[in-house]
Amino acid sequence: MNQKLSGAQLVLVPITKIGVNKFPFVENIRSRFIKFIDFYGVRYLPNSAEPGLQNTNNLFVTIMNKDGNREIIRNLPLARFNFVETLGVRQPIYSNISLSDCYINCQNASEVGKTAAFIFWYDLPEYSKANSTKKLVTDSMSVPLTTSVRYNKFPDEERMNGKRFRRLLLGTPSVTPDLQDGLDVRQLANIYVTLRKGSYNVLENMPVMMLYQLAMLQKAEFQNIIFDFQSSFLTIGGAGTIPNVDRDYIGKSVFFNMQYEK
């Protein structure tokens, strides 16, 4: 199985009742070959003031095949998808699925009214490339946070144009190399990244914590994707509802290391 990553999209599933709560229809995922699914349990979600689901107890996931008539996964505990528990050792899906036929079975009344956040990792062959060299360069980028409700754009770093990226690594410094204040891990949990190629969101609203490799067992490696950083951005979750967001986030920076082919 090719475990390298290419495309990813955040999908929000409102938990509205005890029992079956279906996933929404997402056009982008409809025809995609899904490789992995991660559950991201955090309070503040991107572009939403709704509380995120954090507890995985008594919640079960069923994934349906592309025709919606056969279960690929039936009632797997949500914990198996919880990325802080799997430490990057993701549950493989490796199928085309019918997202709107998939569902979460909620048996925990205290979680009704919350929204579950999932990252769907899918194959993106049109933007993926095979390795062309073993020589890699490690570079860095700091992204300043200027708004809690809109997009925080990546700086325009010309030297990264056209590079084929293999690894994106979130750093957690208190001070970045360009002497900006960084965020701590608790704050970084509420930051989401959208990396684009042209007009396409290759990684859409992906939690930056999924790029925090320090605690991960499995290496997260991308398939030599060329990103357009000029049109990419970070979003602070909660749509402005995080307490003291201006004081604690605005004016600070998120730091990344990245590896690309030389």
Partner: protein, 313 residues
């Protein structure tokens, strides 16, 4: 009429031949499909087999933000596989100290998070720019690798936040590492237990008998289940250190993590996650000249810690 009959008979016979040929062709296609439908090979494990791990100590001073790698090292002309930064353990038993001078405090993550590396290869091309030290922390299962000879003149380390207390930074330089694909894991092992006080050093021959060496067995791997110290292993044949003052936390097997999204990193990082035991390249260890040194200072004599180490052979 006879000609037509002959012709018809001819056609029937030919038709049979045609049918026979078609059937044979289908059979051949079927056999080819059978041959080509080979089941995918089970993915073998990729193991890193370590041949040389050296320690580098860089003394850091309060207020100073820039440091350079030492020049006079055995690996100056070697391809460096990776460099790991050691984050000192803070378990409430005092500070770990340098394996070289036995007194200088080893710095911890709170200082390391604001540390960055600019690395240049021997052609003076920058291969890492502002590489954050957490990407090469000793507990990172998938650290950024270097795979290059380094220019020790140009490569530098800098801190965006200067340290407020003198100490030392310990780096571990890996070179000569092999990567092999294998489904085999070593099966035989011997496990030893012993205790060390602060500042105490013990040669391995006093805790492990010569059984392995006398049986001509070669050590293939090490797990340190318990104990904080510095391990030096020498090769019996050339007496060179294969592991030079390697902290035992880099030899720790998989134990899990306490980290949770949305919570602060735990202050007591008492669990270190490693993917595999530390695999070695079939080493005939000179146990008489290999040793373990406690990572705690001599004045912590009252603090006696237990070591449990497994040697796979």
């Amino acid at each position: 009429m006879d000609n037509l009959s002959t012709l018809i008979l001819d056609c029937i016979q030919k038709n049979n031949v045609v049918k026979w040929v078609i059937a044979l062709f289908r059979k051949i296609v079927f056999w080819i499909k059978q041959i080509l439908s080979i089941k995918p090979k089970t993915e073998s494990m990729k193991l890193q087999i370590y041949k040389n791990i050296d320690v580098v100590q860089i003394n850091v001073k309060a207020g100073i933000q820039e440091y350079y790698l030492p020049k006079n090292v055995d690996w100056a002309d070697c391809v460096i596989d990776k460099i790991l930064v050691y984050d000192a353990y803070d378990g409430g038993n005092g500070s770990e100290v340098s394996p070289i001078d036995g007194t200088t405090r080893v710095i911890q993550l709170s200082n390391i998070e604001d540390m960055y590396f600019d690395l240049y290869n021997n052609e003076e091309v920058e291969i890492a720019h502002n590489l954050n030290a957490t990407a090469i922390l000793h507990s990172n299962n998938n650290p950024v690798e270097i795979k290059s000879k380094l220019s020790l003149n140009l490569s530098r380390i800098f801190l965006s936040t200067p340290i407020d207390q003198d100490g030392c930074l310990l780096l571990y330089v890996f070179y000569g590492t092999k990567e092999v694909e294998t489904d085999d894991r070593p099966q035989r092992s011997v496990t030893v237990q012993f205790s060390l006080s602060g500042g105490e050093q013990i040669t391995l021959s006093s805790v492990i008998d010569t059984y392995i060496h006398s049986q001509d067995y070669k050590v293939k791997g090490i797990d340190v289940w318990k104990g904080l110290g510095y391990l030096t292993l020498r090769d019996y044949n050339n007496h060179c250190p294969i592991l030079n003052l390697l902290h035992t936390r880099l030899c720790r097997p998989l134990m899990g993590t306490e980290y949770t999204v949305g919570e602060a990193m735990p202050e007591e990082r008492c669990m270190d996650v490693q993917m595999n035991p530390l695999y070695l390249d079939n080493v005939d260890i000179d146990f008489d000249n290999s040793f373990i040194l406690s990572s705690y200072p001599k004045d912590e004599i009252a603090f006696k810690q237990e070591f449990i180490i497994t040697f796979y052979y």
